[in-house]
């Protein structure tokens, strides 16, 4: 049997578009992700969703639904604008944390996978270049059941959010870190007055910057909330104007 170009062209069209049509009818043809991660196939965790299958296109909302992690924890852990908690896609982290990438420290989808796995007590392996924001580490310390060794290794991979760009480099000793936490504030300046409270700034960051808990409580007129809470969230909860509270707390830093 001989085949000419015209016949071959027709056959190619029939195979390609016929195949696509057939699989579309059966529902198998998918060009986008279903946003549902794969489950562990076997072992102790069989049937549970596997954080390793979280993709860059998953939103924090998708992850919160699949893994039953509060959206707020995910959002605060990665320093996301509270108004975008649900719609924030993991792959967007790469642009937020781009300055760290130049130093070989990556906060991206792999960090979310690692955070989710530790939060839920699920197994996962960590790549050498993957880091977690310090807020994520704090949330894990508070909410996940971690061993001492796990806490120690988490502290080694903790990095600060880019708005302050103070990295907790494991090679820096604790003493140096304490000194630097009040001195090295941003890459452009060594002046402590350049620390600026923003919407995503947490109470923990105030403490890290050397503000005493008693002074914060004096301004709040009550006990300080969870250190992981952002100042803006606290203000919203209490019905206080954020700008006023920010100004008072900024005074403590300055």
């Amino acid at each position: 049997m001989n085949l000419k170009s015209t016949h071959l062209a027709i056959i190619i069209f029939v195979f390609i578009f016929g195949g696509i049509g057939l699989t579309s009818v059966t529902g198998y043809w998918q060009t986008t992700n279903t946003k549902i991660p794969a489950a562990y196939q076997d072992g102790e965790f069989a049937g549970q969703y596997d954080p390793a299958d979280i993709r860059g296109s998953y939103t924090f909302g998708d992850i919160s639904t699949s893994f039953e992690i509060p959206l707020k924890d995910l959002g605060q852990a990665f320093g996301v604008d509270p108004q975008r908690y649900a719609s924030f896609e993991c792959k967007e982290l790469e642009s937020i944390y781009a300055p760290l990438k130049e130093e070989g420290k990556e906060v991206g989808t792999a960090s979310v996978r690692y955070f989710v796995a530790l939060y839920k007590g699920l197994p996962i392996s960590l790549s050498e270049s993957t880091y977690l924001p310090i807020q994520a580490v704090d949330i894990l310390k508070e909410k996940a059941s971690l061993s001492e060794a796990e806490i120690l290794s988490l502290e080694k991979i903790a990095v600060s959010l880019p708005d302050s760009e103070v990295l907790t480099d494991p090679s820096v000793t604790e003493g140096q870190q304490e000194q630097e936490s009040t001195e090295t504030i941003s890459p452009d300046s060594h002046d402590t007055t350049s620390i600026a409270i923003k919407g995503i700034t947490t109470f923990q960051e105030l403490l890290d910057w050397g503000v005493k808990i008693e002074d914060i409580e004096k301004i709040l007129n009550e006990e300080m909330p969870s250190p992981q809470k952002s100042i803006k969230d606290y203000a919203a909860e209490k019905g206080i104007e954020f700008s006023g509270l920010k100004e008072s707390l900024q005074g403590l830093i300055n």
């Binding site: 049997m1 085949l3 170009s5 056959i11 190619i12 195979f15 195949g19 060009t31 986008t32 794969a38």
Partner: protein, 289 residues
């Protein structure tokens, strides 16, 4: 009398002229090139809330059959695909394999937009270098380099299997060409695209010949494809036009059937296209008429 007529009918006829009309393969290639371009454009538009009607807005990865190949290991072991790959890549992979079992790597020669892009560039190269075009690399070096794509294939599969990431994206010139506006394209992919563009001016389909891992996979099917390029030695005049027309530099004139792993089933060498003798170089099944 009737016996004489039968004998005359079976004698191959020397065709004096070849049609100057663009061949049907050109139209098919152009169609798929612009279809893929529209899909990638639509994907970009969909991210800002716009869309082109009746065109898919899947990603470039979603419509690339090689994604299916790269996902095979993960699919077999975990039941999912590597990042950015979806069911559509798997469907296209199966379609491409079925076509390859029957006809060889027709996806490369009739469908792949990056192959088309290289062919378009080669038209400039032919004008620049004339008969030297596609023959500038010493045969010995060329014959060794032809196996490089299997090394690329092995590396891509190994790194994808171990990382479960689409490693190939960072060196994929096809991705760089169709996503040049995206910040997801690595510098390495742009460099390889640049090198491929320059090489396409002196060689036909340099990426396909030396580096394409998907071409390497589909090339294996040439060993057992059902339809092959077959040459009738009885009517062949040994003019070597079939050799000269082959973009992959295969010596068709010395074989009864082309089993070469580099053949892309473009049909350029056949009696329909280059061979001046009718029914002499055909794309056929064994003993096929």
């Amino acid at each position: 009398m009737s016996q004489t007529k039968i004998q005359q009918d079976s004698i191959p006829i020397l065709k004096t002229t070849k049609s100057r009309k663009p061949k049907i393969r050109f139209y098919v290639q152009t169609f798929f090139f612009f279809l893929v371009a529209l899909i990638t454009l639509n994907k970009a538009l969909s991210e800002v809330g716009l869309s082109i009607p009746y065109i898919s807005n899947g990603s470039l990865h979603a419509i690339c059959p090689f994604g299916g190949v790269a996902s095979l290991y993960k699919f077999a072991t975990v039941g999912t695909f590597v990042q950015k790959i979806h069911e559509s890549s798997f469907v296209l992979m199966v379609i491409a394999f079925l076509l390859a079992i029957l006809f060889g790597p027709v996806i490369c020669s009739w469908v792949c937009p990056f192959g088309t892009f290289q062919e378009w560039l080669s038209r400039i190269g032919r004008k620049l270098f004339g008969k030297r075009f596609n023959h500038l690399i010493p045969a010995k070096v060329d014959s060794i380099l032809r196996y490089l794509r299997y090394v690329v294939l092995f590396l891509v599969l190994y790194l994808t299997f171990t990382s479960t990431k689409l490693i190939f994206q960072d060196v994929d010139p096809y991705y760089a060409l169709f996503q040049f506006w995206s910040d997801e394209v690595a510098v390495s992919a742009f460099i390889i695209l640049g090198v491929t563009i320059l090489m396409s001016l002196v060689i036909d389909r340099p990426w396909c010949k030396y580096a394409c891992p998907y071409g390497a996979v589909l090339g294996i099917f040439n060993l057992f494809r059902i339809f092959k390029i077959r040459r009738a030695t009885s009517s062949c005049t040994d003019c070597k036009l079939c050799d000269r027309s082959c973009p992959m530099n295969i010596t068709v004139s010395s074989r009864k059937a082309v089993l070469n792993h580099q053949c892309i089933s473009c049909l350029s060498c056949t009696s329909e296209n280059s061979c001046p003798m009718s029914d002499t170089v055909e794309f056929s099944t064994k003993g096929g008429k």
